[in-house]
């Protein structure tokens, strides 16, 4: 049975950041680390251990794959790219988080109004 994107939700912060970093294109490990740091404004840094632990899981689930160019040349850093399924999962997670944010904002606003 073909997996549905929502089967992978919710994502951990590390997984979310890795997928998000790969939306900017094919990246090698250190590139992903830098991109994560940039996207989070320096508030979230990831080390190689955590990165490849996530890459391994994501590759196993088919959300990330190795780019073909890297596979052909052993001297070049291995690069990773988002698969279609990965993109779908990221979009679904973003939508889920957006829903959470909307709900949270509404709840907080109602609470503030109740206090006034």
């Amino acid at each position: 049975m073909k997996p549905h994107v929502t089967d992978h939700l919710p994502l951990s912060p590390a997984t979310l950041h890795v997928l998000l970093a790969l939306t900017s294109g094919d990246l090698h490990g250190y590139g992903i680390m830098l991109e994560i740091e940039r996207q989070s404004g320096g508030t979230y840094k990831m080390g190689p251990g955590t990165l490849y632990d996530n890459i391994k899981k994501l590759m196993k689930l088919g959300l990330v794959e190795e780019s073909q160019a890297a596979n052909e040349d052993k001297d070049v850093r291995r690069e990773y790219r988002l698969t279609a399924l990965g993109g779908g999962v990221l979009a679904a997670e973003t939508e889920r988080l957006a829903q959470v944010v909307r709900t949270a904002r509404r709840s907080l606003r109602l609470r503030e109004e109740g206090q006034l």
């Binding site: 997996p3 549905h4 089967d7 992978h8 939700l9 919710p10 994502l11 951990s12 912060p13 590390a14 997984t15 090698h28 490990g29 250190y30 680390m33 840094k45 990831m46 080390g47 190689p48 251990g49 955590t50 990165l51 490849y52 632990d53 890459i55 391994k56 899981k57 994501l58 196993k60 689930l61 850093r77 291995r78």
Partner: protein, 516 residues
């Protein structure tokens, strides 16, 4: 410096499972080089170590989850996915390990607690905690038991013990600090602790785990296939109904067997047993030597031998009665050597059971060579009754000693100096036994009527009463109260004269020993 740090990180990478290392190891090292200036060595190493743990857990057979999309928590990180399905094997394994650890911890605590109960012998002091005279190790033979002298005990076998006419010196020595630890007792307690833990695991822990796992699996089966589960439960109950009476019968038969003839512990075979009248110079020396292959007595009367062999509390008058006059007058030397097999067996045993076997040998020898015949009976005798004073007990709740090694007995009364006792986790039986050895008691037995069943700490200081004329103490202890007053003022306990039925050993007949 950078090379060293890279080597250290490389070591962490190399410790990862081979599959992960081969796929990502090189990339990790390259990323480490690039990330080092910004991220810092410590953070990268910590990250590598966390990854190391994760990968090894995942590499374990029980840690490898299926590549199934039915487990969204694979990516969920700290999110907890609540799944109505069957828990994974990993979760079951974790639960089993945790449950086992909790069981073991409980077993350890219970065992340790059990081994601190009052039944343990007092290896730390001159007082046994059990109060059983027969368990005392290294008892001095009491030719002068009727003289009310104090018996000194020592856990070591090489020291001769003098009593009788040395009563005055012995009394002084009694109050000196004793060796703090009997290694034989510690070894014995270790063996007991291991044995009881094994017994607990065998009889309680493993069956409990088995039952829990069975019930859990049955419950899961019930959720999925109630009909099958019902049949399984019915079959199990039927099997239990059949097996329980059979098991009970078999166990009961085993117990009956166990209660029948005792398991065959080979009786010590004597190689040498010589008895001869003592040299006049050694008369009434009352020395008892433990030896690896037997024991030796010098200048000991038959009365002293009986006191030792039957565990009579020698400091109490009247517990050994009857017998011919020479029983307390004529002294003998006795040498007993057992066969090599017994010597070998004794060398592997703690001191206490070996002492008990030595006493058994001596009882046989007394019956054989002295034609000793005796019996036990209850007689009403003058005694001192230990009671709680009108203002209540002043004994203190024990304070745990953290510095002591595991297995060191806590229940004891230390004698740090003349007229000074320090009780720690002491029982009333300890106190009674210690008091009975004091000359102030005039050989009367002390009977516990306090009703206090706990263990207590206390400090008792008094002016020792020395019966020897001209030997009154000249130190500051003269300012202390008498023992009776000290008991009342410092411990809130009183000694009241009374009469109590006591078990008495009565010698019916004895002959002078036959030729060797």
């Amino acid at each position: 410096m950078s090379d060293l740090r890279k080597q250290m990180y490389g070591a962490i990478v190399r410790l990862h499972p081979a599959e992960f290392r081969e796929e990502f190891g090189q990339e990790m090292l390259l990323d480490f080089d690039e990330a080092l200036p910004n991220s810092g060595f410590g953070a990268l190493c910590l990250d590598g170590l966390i990854s190391l743990g994760r990968q090894w857990v995942a590499a374990l057979p029980v840690g490898a989850r299926e590549n199934s999309f039915a487990h969204p928590s694979l990516l969920a990180g700290q999110y907890v996915a609540i799944s109505p399905g069957m828990p994974s094997f990993l979760e079951l394994f974790r639960a089993a390990v945790l449950a086992t650890l909790v069981y073991l911890a409980l077993a350890f605590v219970l065992t340790a607690q059990h081994n601190r109960t009052p039944t343990q012998p007092g290896g730390l002091s001159t007082e046994p905690t059990s109060g059983a005279p027969s368990s005392s190790a290294g008892v001095a033979l009491h030719h002068g038991a009727q003289q009310g002298s104090s018996a000194r005990r020592t856990p070591m076998s090489s020291t001769p013990l003098a009593v009788g006419r040395r009563a005055t010196n012995a009394a002084a020595q009694t109050e000196q600090a004793e060796p703090l630890l009997d290694p034989y007792w510690v070894a014995s307690m270790k063996q007991k602790a291991i044995a009881s833990t094994k017994e607990f695991a065998k009889t309680t822990l493993l069956p409990s785990i088995d039952l829990s796992v069975f019930l859990f699996l049955l419950l899961e089966l019930w959720k999925r296939r109630p009909r099958v589960a019902k049949w399984v439960a019915l079959a199990t109950l039927t099997a239990l109904a059949v097996a329980t009476p059979a098991t009970f019968g078999a166990t009961h038969a085993q117990v009956m067997q166990a209660n029948g003839p005792m398991p065959a512990t080979p009786a010590p075979q004597l190689e040498v047993a010589t008895i001869k009248p003592s040299d006049p110079a050694k008369q009434h020396l009352g020395l008892y030597w433990r030896q690896p292959d037997g024991f030796k007595l010098e200048g000991t009367t038959l009365r002293g031998m009986i006191v030792n062999a039957y565990g009579v509390q020698g400091s109490v008058k009247g517990l050994l009665q009857g017998g011919p006059a020479w029983m307390a007058a004529d002294a003998f030397d006795l040498v007993v050597k057992v066969d090599p097999a017994t010597t070998e067996r004794w060398s592997k045993l703690p001191q206490q059971p070996v002492d008990e076997e030595r006493r058994a040998v001596m009882r046989d020898l007394l019956a054989d060579r002295f034609q000793l015949k005796l019996h036990r009976e209850m007689r009403e005798m003058p005694a001192l009754l230990l009671t709680v004073g009108k203002d209540g007990s002043k004994l203190q709740t024990p304070v745990a000693e953290k510095s002591l090694q595991t297995g060191v007995p806590q229940s004891r009364i230390n004698f740090p100096g003349r007229g000074h006792w320090d009780g720690h986790y002491a029982l009333m039986s300890n106190l009674c036994r210690s008091l009975a050895g004091r000359p102030e008691m005039d050989g009367r037995p002390i009977v516990d009527k306090t009703g206090l069943t706990g263990q207590y700490d206390f400090t008792l200081r008094w002016a020792p009463f020395d019966p020897a004329p001209g030997s009154a103490s000249m130190d500051s202890s003269e300012q202390q109260p008498s023992l009776f007053t000290a008991l009342q003022e410092q411990l809130g306990l009183r000694l009241i004269p009374g009469k109590e039925p006591m078990e008495v050993l009565v010698v019916d007949s004895a002959d002078k020993p036959s030729e060797n």
